[in-house]
């Protein structure tokens, strides 16, 4: 920076600074007026220290900051069947805390008893999906947009938004809760989705045995340690290229789409049905490997009931199709044929990524 050479320049600079500050003041006044002096209370995400060290900051949209009142409202909505067409089914009906906010049923029935075609997805650490693609096929961009879908999905909550909004508007407690969260008691679908997204962002899981090991609190067992080695070894598991490289990627997913060799032909085109690109037929979003102890059954269609079946799939059950990922090796023989010992140890390691404190966290319970 160059120093100003003369007094007039200095004076002008001061004038300039004054100008800027006077403008800024005017703007604050304006926003305060719009919200009639009311601001909800900001709430920081409870981010685990290891996430702070190793991961990019979570995605929080500028127009939907986390607030105490917003999260509380979102939680109430998440557990309230009022959003469904016949007042019987809440988000929590298919996203159950003890099951890692997924559903142990292969296909969750909606309000009409009709089952969808995909397994419910677990909900945690979604604020760290920097690609912001949600659902197995990534069709919803942002958690706010995602939250709009289940309410009107005919095989889920089978409602209409006008109907859901008028039920909320007519309910005794909701208008005031929206006023507290957003400064207005006039409810609309956007505000509902914002509140729910705020609550979903608070669902954070970062306290598995493996996290405790990284924090230096415990040792891994021999089996877990060998399982970790299988996971990282490109000649054996080679899981890290899609499910993340320890000790850095604590999300255990690349949040990308792959065909991991489940089928020869596809009933469900997955990502390809959204993009229309035949090169993406049969691709699904890589799920996180956290909390597998609670989230069975596995894969987009819940075809595997146990982790043994999943591991057998990668070891010797791979099936060739045109879009199969090149990371699926030795497909001709069904896979790389892990030894029995390696399979057992890999399972032990995967289970060390489950976080009991997450499924018991009282903050996430309906009280």
């Amino acid at each position: 920076m160059t120093v100003f050479k003369n007094i007039p320049t200095f004076v002008l600079t001061v004038a300039c600074a004054l100008l800027i500050s006077s403008c800024a003041k005017e703007e604050t006044n304006k926003t305060e007026q719009a919200e009639e002096g009311y601001e909800p209370t900001p709430l920081a995400l409870q981010t685990p220290v290891l996430f702070q060290e190793k991961l990019d900051s979570p995605v929080i949209p500028a127009d939907n900051p986390q607030t105490v009142e917003g999260v509380a409202l979102g939680k109430k909505l998440f557990f309230d069947p009022i959003l469904s067409g016949n007042n019987t089914l809440a988000c929590a009906g298919c996203h159950i805390q003890e099951e890692g906010f997924s559903d142990s049923r292969q296909f969750s029935p909606g309000i009409d008893g009709v089952e969808g075609r995909r397994n419910s997805m677990p909900l945690f650490n979604l604020a760290w999906n920097h690609k912001e693609t949600f659902f197995w096929d990534g069709r919803a961009i942002s958690l706010e947009n995602q939250a709009l879908e289940p309410v009107i999905d005919p095989v889920e909550m089978h409602n209409t938004w006008p109907n859901a909004v008028s039920s909320l508007q007519a309910a005794p407690e909701y208008p005031e809760l929206f006023a507290k969260a957003f400064g207005t008691s006039t409810i609309d679908s956007t505000l509902v989705s914002k509140a729910i997204a705020q609550f979903v962002r608070t669902l954070i899981s970062g306290n598995s045995r493996y996290d405790q090991y990284l924090r230096g609190e415990i040792e891994l067992t021999q089996a877990e340690q060998n399982g970790l080695n299988v996971y990282k070894d490109e000649e054996r598991g080679d899981c890290f290229h899609c499910h993340g490289t320890p000790p850095n990627n604590l999300l255990w997913t690349d949040n990308d789409f792959h065909n991991n060799g489940l089928d020869k032909t596809f009933d469900d085109l997955g990502r390809g049905a959204i993009t229309g690109d035949p090169r993406e037929f049969g691709l699904f979003k890589t799920p996180s490997l956290r909390n597998l102890a609670y989230t069975a059954p596995y894969m987009h269609d819940g075809r595997f009931e146990t982790l043994e079946e999943v591991i057998d799939h990668y070891s010797e059950g791979l099936v060739y199709s045109e879009t199969i990922d090149p990371l699926m090796k030795a497909v001709g023989e069904g896979g790389v044929q892990l030894s029995e010992q390696d399979k057992q140890d890999l399972k032990a390691f995967l289970l060390a990524l489950s976080d009991e404190s997450f499924i018991n966290n009282p903050d996430f319970q309906n009280k």
């Binding site: 050479k5 990019d56 990282k232 490109e234 993340g244 990627n249 690349d254 060739y320």
Partner: protein, 259 residues
């Protein structure tokens, strides 16, 4: 009214501030932009080519490309006195998805004539395990067992092997790691790419071309039947890939874009 006067004053201040540094007027600092493009022996590789277009490599295998990501770092502008202005930092190109194919560093370069160079991958000092969270989000890490740090390139696809079967290849380049029972020998395989002489002007855009065929050509003619996957832990293969990489990049068009 008062505000209008202030506005004029503010404008004057800006002009005044700008005018003080006389050296900068003679040789102003300029924004520079880099466009990364990919080709196979001169044929541009576009999104539509991934997974579909068949190429024949130097050894004669028919192959397709499904993924191509690579990292470059520390672009340097070196003047005739040998003084370098280095743009510290990295850019991870995802060629198929066309993300970061344009790189606009914040640092400005003074107008003039330079030789342009960059590092393919990360040199040893920068290849720090876990240091770059955005690269972790991109799942770009290398396991600790292989020395940690980051990939330099992921080139993936399929080829027809010598039994006539479609087989995958995973041409991943990293810092070479030789793992024995009691030691891990590491060898830096990043390398400097010299693109020749360039002129820096306002709005200048340099195209940096990658000829993917070169990875399979020279000095080591690559036989995918022998070396297709599990190359990260293959010390010898890493050294060969690094050698082949030296002729992969070249300077393409230089254009001026008016802002």
């Amino acid at each position: 009214m008062k505000k209008h006067i202030l506005l004029v004053v503010a404008a004057l201040v800006l002009v005044a501030c700008k005018d003080v540094d006389e050296a900068a007027v003679l040789n102003p600092n300029r924004n520079v932009t880099f466009n990364f493009t990919q080709n196979w022996e001169g044929d541009e590789i576009t999104n539509a080519d991934y997974q579909t277009t068949e190429y024949t490599n130097a050894h004669g295998e028919t192959m397709t490309i499904s993924k191509l990501r690579y990292l470059i770092s520390d672009i340097a502008f070196t003047d005739e006195n040998g003084d370098s202005t280095i743009i510290k930092g990295y850019n991870l190109v995802n060629a198929r998805e066309a993300t970061n194919t344009q790189y606009k560093p914040a640092k400005k370069i003074q107008e003039g004539t330079y030789t342009l160079s960059f590092t393919f991958g990360f040199e040893k000092e920068d290849n720090i395990d876990g240091a770059y969270p955005d690269l972790t989000s991109a799942d770009w890490n290398v396991p600790e067992d292989l020395g940690g740090g980051y990939h330099f390139m992921q080139l993936e696809g399929t080829f027809i092997d010598n039994t006539g079967t479609v087989a995958p290849y995973l041409y991943h380049t990293i810092r070479a790691a030789n793992k024995t029972d009691d030691a891990l020998e590491l060898q830096d395989t990043s390398f400097e790419v010299d693109l020749g002489t360039v002129t820096v002007k306002e709005g200048v855009v340099y195209e940096i071309k990658m000829d993917v065929a070169e990875w399979f050509k020279n000095p080591n003619e690559w036989d995918l039947n022998e070396l297709n996957s599990n190359l990260m832990g293959n010390f010898g293969a890493q050294l060969k890939m690094s050698e082949n990489g030296r002729t992969v990049f070249s300077l393409g068009e230089t254009t001026i874009v008016e802002e």
